[in-house]
């Protein structure tokens, strides 16, 4: 009774504590306002950048486009170059080739649910939202798909505690192509404009009509991975490809106004352009141009001149794990750490066009497209060799320089597509390097399946 007596005293009552540091997720779960949907869109745009630093650096290294010099941790130039063997489940520093795009996709699903569960937008506005989100998701799905390659990915990922099974690379691609098509269907029903705004990187690609052009560009890229050459050409027709236009045209990931904080691990953040390193600043912690790329430059190639910045000899970069090599060039594409980063450009679309034409037997058309690219690079015409292999050789050469170290680097993927990964051996610096074909399925994914398989 005494306890009962005491427990009635006011001191036993606790005022419920709510989260003083962040909003509750339930707030936007239903009846979100347009402003709240806009903030979720900004969140999606912010998340969309999550894969860039890790993916560009690791794929760049795997494809011998760049080297990641980090004296603080030699694994960037040992493990990433295959000097500690093939990638395993817990492979070094590649988490965000996987987690970041999937978190972006999950944000997209969360956003579409919020849009569907509110009266704040019309059906037409909802379709616009869905079309845009599916376009972004289609692009993001390609990141883990290319990293995992034949290991496949999960595509049914809406319930965290009950995800669908892994599907093959081909099934994954089919799914992505279908998702992009759904996006176009939605965008076609979205009217003339979106109810939301998009950050500066999208430029004029901020209407349903122009979003379709981006969607089709991404589809063209995915189609060549699927070796659906006709599909690629069809998609290109509806894309923003422009043979006579600026090759740099295209939507970009937005880094304007970055404050440098990392967006990893939930911290509030707005990262800088991760490719930017002050030109010629003394540093041993920097991305450098792979010597293989430098060695094969065709004389007079403006792409090399514009992209590969020669450091002064006193500032050549050493790396403890590659002691026999001194790096001479860094990425010269950026003027500030606030530069937006294009994620698909007209130049790539022209090259996709060339490839698809070649693969469908139109070698002359392919060579003409290749020469459009070469001419822009200040190089003389390439003569049609009259056979597919010769055209593809040249195409891959042009892709190596035109698309060098893009946010989702191409060379590793391109050589894998054409079964030519062994060509990378010519670029080895250390004798113990190995070529990778793909990354291993992450530990957590394996562990989850083991766990479920074990009846957990």
């Amino acid at each position: 009774m005494l306890i009962a007596g005491l427990s009635a005293c006011a001191i036993f009552e606790i005022d419920p504590v709510t989260n003083p540091n962040a909003a509750d997720a339930a707030i936007v779960g239903s009846n979100a306002s347009q402003a709240q949907l806009q903030s979720l869109i900004n969140g999606l745009e912010s998340r969309s950048r999550g894969f860039v630093a890790t993916t560009s650096r690791s794929f760049g290294t795997f494809g011998r486009e760049t080297l990641s010099f980090r004296d603080s941790d030699p694994r960037f130039t040992t493990d990433w170059l295959g000097r500690a063997g093939q990638p395993d489940a817990g492979f070094f520093a590649v988490v965000n080739t996987y987690d970041a795009p999937f978190q972006t996709i999950a944000q997209g699903n969360f956003l579409m649910d919020a849009g569907a569960n509110t009266d704040a937008i019309s059906e037409q506005q909802l379709r616009g939202l869905q079309g845009y989100v599916k376009t972004v998701q289609g692009f993001q799905f390609l990141v883990p798909l290319l990293a995992q390659s034949e290991g496949g990915i999960r595509i049914d990922i809406t319930d965290p505690q009950n995800p669908g099974p892994f599907v093959s690379f081909d099934e994954g691609l089919t799914f992505v192509l279908g998702l992009l098509d759904e996006g176009v269907t939605d965008l076609n029903a979205a009217g003339d404009s979106f109810f939301f705004s998009l950050p500066s990187g999208w430029g004029s690609f901020n209407t349903p009509a122009r979003m379709i052009e981006v969607n089709r560009a991404i589809k063209a890229r995915a189609s060549i991975y699927a070796e659906d050459w006709q599909g690629a050409l069809t998609a290109l027709n509806a894309s923003f490809m422009n043979m006579s236009g600026n090759l740099n045209d295209g939507p970009a990931l937005t880094y304007q106004g970055g404050d440098g904080t990392t967006i990893q691990n939930e911290a509030v953040g707005n990262p800088f352009n991760p490719f930017f390193f002050p030109l010629d600043a003394f540093s041993t912690q920097i991305e450098v141009v792979h010597p293989g790329v430098l060695a094969d430059i065709e004389e007079g190639d403006l792409r090399a001149a514009n992209k590969f910045f020669p450091r002064s000899p006193t500032n050549f970069v050493n790396n403890q794990a590659l002691p026999q090599y001194v790096a001479t060039h860094q990425d010269g594409r950026w003027s500030t750490n606030n530069d937006n980063v294009p994620f698909i450009r007209n130049e790539e679309l022209v090259l996709i066009y060339a490839e698809a034409q070649a693969q469908t037997g139109n070698l002359a058309e392919a060579v003409s497209a290749i020469n459009t690219i070469r001419s822009a690079a200040g190089l003389g015409d390439f003569t049609n060799p009259g056979n597919l292999d010769g055209v593809i050789d040249q195409l891959l050469f042009e892709r190596r320089y035109s698309l060098w170290f893009e946010p989702l680097p191409h060379r590793w993927v391109d050589l894998r597509r054409y079964d030519r990964l062994s060509e990378l051996e010519a670029d080895f610096i250390a004798t113990d390097e190995e070529v990778f074909t793909r990354l291993a399925r992450p530990t957590e994914e394996q562990a989850w399946d083991d766990f479920i398989g074990a009846g957990g």
């Binding site: 504590v17 900004n42 004296d71 106004g257 026999q324 394996q446 083991d450």
Partner: protein, 1024 residues
Amino acid sequence: MKLKRYYKFMCLTVLMLLTLSFQVLAQEFTVSGRITDEVSGDPLPGVNVVIKGTTNGTISDADGNFKLTVSSSPATLTFSFIGYKGKEVDITSSSTNIEVTMSEDITNLEEVVVTGLASSIKRSNLANAVETISAEELLGTTTPQTLGGGLYGKLAGVNINVNGGAPGTSPSVQLRGISTLGNGSSEPLYIIDGVYVNNSSISTGISVANGAGAGQSAALQDDLSSRISDINPDDIESIEILKGSSAAAIYGTRANAGVIIITTKKGRSGKTKVSLGQEIGFNQAVNLLGYADWNLDKVVRFFGGSSQRINDINSGRSTDWEREIFGEEGLITSTTLTVSGGNDKTQFFINGNVRAENGIIQNSGFDRNTIRANIDHQLTDKIKISTGSNYIWSSNDRSFNGNQNSTGASFGYNISFTPPMADLFPDENGIYPNNPYFAENPLALRDLGINNSTVNRFIQSFNADIGLIQTPNSLLKLTFQGGIDYLNSNSLVYLPEVLQFQQSQANPGDVFQGRAEQLNINMQAFLIYNTQVGSVNFNTQVGAVKLNQDSESVVVRGQGLLNGNQNANTAALQSVFRQQRQEVTDVGIVAQEEINWEDKIIGTLGVRLDKSSLNLDQDEFYAFPKASVAVNLNNFGFLNVDQISQLKVRAAYGETGGLPNFGTTFIQLNNQFIDGGAGTVLSTVSVDPNLEPETAREIELGLDVGLFDGRALLEVTYYDKQINDLIEFLEPANSTGIIQITTNAGDLKNTGWELALSGSPIRTPSVEWFSRVNWWTNESEITRWDVPAKTTGGFGASLGTYQLAEGISPTTIVGNPELQDANGNGIGQFTRYGDAQPDWQLSFYNQVNFLKNFTFSFVLHHSSGADVINLSQFLWDLGGTSPDWDDTDQYANQPAMVDGEDNPLFRDDNGDGVNDLTNGQGRPLQRSTEGSSPEVYIQDASFWKIREAGLYYTLPSSVTNSVFKGFVEKVKLGVSGNHLFIFSDYVSYDPEVSQFGANPVASSVEVTPFPSSRRVMFHLNIDF
């Protein structure tokens, strides 16, 4: 509703009862006497003399004399004095002058041990192995820098981890193994005079400034000191350690990791005592490792043909960078002034200390100024109040050490890659050259960088003891305790724009200015009823406790600074790096019954009901029961062996809790920014809707044997502690976009033995030797694991990490390659290489008083079988700077093949046909040549350490009297040392090391920490 009103009435009635008091009548005579030590014959000042059955009493003066008015004849006087066996003397009105001798309580059987919120018990009746550290043991050998530093090697069942040797570091204390995997409370609860003190570590942002924690677990790599380091060890009278749940159950929901109860010193009535203590000494690296030599041949082999490096080696320059950075002797000074005294009614104790310690790296240091005032006052003969006020200012320059990424902002990391021929000294204009071998010039960093935390703190305790009803056989009293712990912390991490790494940044110059304010308020009220029924004594307690914790912190960051400016507001790029608030309320209700049958059988039953706003269900009460029994077989009379003075068997069971960390029970939206717009993202972290707090259940069994009239004591304890519902993250398939769901993932079991043998082998007027040996062992095993097996801590499977899976200890160190099932598929578990937990530990404490005035004491500590992930050596090897790098005799002339098999000692990466494995001790020249297994860097960290040693001399009182003419009472001189020697095969500064601070698992990872230092001090103490 009606019922509630009734309860409120009850509540009021209970409170009103407390104000009642009763009077007792009296008839008087006076007794006086003198009290002396039985062995030495020295007078004993400060002995408590009380008339039995009353609260009337006095205290003996400096010459051991006392005088007391007694109300009725005959009467019994009880004499008690800390460290001595109690004594009772019968007197009548005719015995006006008595001589009393008291003997030292060598094995502390009679010591009163605080065991609960409002209870204490004689050690000989205790059912748990509660260890007590007296002021003598804490400070008698040498002066520890921080409280935790004084516990090293003195306690059985304790594992202590430390970030590194930075001054001001308070180690993290782990009692009886791991009690959480990091998501419940991992540190014991510290209670000082009833105040729940704040032992948080306040993040400064340095792990972002130096890049160490750019990814996960950023704050864990901040190399922080926990705030218990603010406490001045010299204020402490005794420390009691409730190691397991069976002892700590009454502390309920926060006691899974044990409870450390600290009692501060109090004044004694009598002449006012003034003491002045002065220390002067130095810090010195205890163990520098040396630095590899370089020559032209090695430069060419190591760096290839770089002309700059060849020029460097040809310059003939040679600097031992390790010694240059870590070779300072840091000055230690400490001045203490204590004034204490009082009269029968009021006693006071005032202690002020000014301590300044410089570390072994220039510009590192720890300064702490404290003042404490404790006042005890007998308000009426029924009411006693006491208050303790403690103000602390501490300032800690922790320097730049441990992990970093890309920034060079770590000395050890930096010099791992910097060979002796580097040119790093500033020119005549004070311009520091760039370090061509790494990202930073360590001398510039040392001279220009700042990493400081400054704390202002106020701790206030208040206690009231109110006697309500007293009859010959029973006593009802009310106790009230309250405490306030307020602290304000300012941190500054500053990397000026002129630093090499900053120059390579878009906005050179980086500053983190942090402010934190934390307030803990706790209060408790207990009713205690003690009654004797026949030969059985009943002690009943009921009470309530409440704890509030509020904290707020802000760290602002500025990048792009000019002209040495540290103001974030002047930076080109300004951001609020972190802002965080926390508020927590716990309430609990306690009831306990203690039954003592003539000190033969002592049983206790109790329960605590707790709720906390940290729980997912903030209104749910969780119950934590306890039960214990101690049987003193020697008190039954059938055991008539003279040599055995005590034979006790004891058993105790108890339950405690561990709360989720703040914030884990919320599913939140996070903000991100893009293009000037705010964005909302769904958190990647979620929570199980059925999340419960962690609970621990412990059973402890023990046997205590006292021998030779208390001259020796053997204590044997076995415990089995199960921690259920460990809070851990379920890691769903990452592709779902959720990376963590906080859930109750498993159970953990700790079992262990603790043996303590203490006693006084020699006891003569000229030599008194006290000695204690502790031996202990703990084994941990995860007994249930309901989420996928996972790794945690460290730097991934290729550099060594920890495995959480059923059937193994959470301290298991694993690494590549991954284990495979029968089909060759990875199973998410990795090859096991070691265990961070020692197999067993041993400590040996000795104190010898000899030649009347000398005291020598030391503490020896051994730990056996623990492993550490030594990534310092990994980095030294990589930079070619390992001391043994050139020690390659065993590789000379190795053939490529032996018996038709590849020779593991032959490596020829460059294909020149010569063995190019040039690193000593069989480690690979470059890790890559060894595959990605971290095995070679997971190393045995067994050690022997001389923790403390001290030699003191007290001037004979005859000399003192004749020299100082009675002005000075006592003069004591001494020399002592802390962490004097390490004997270990472990190849680094100190085998006790943790990059990840107070992280309960995954602690033993070494990445170029602040090297440990030896402290040597000279002492002078004068009592006036």
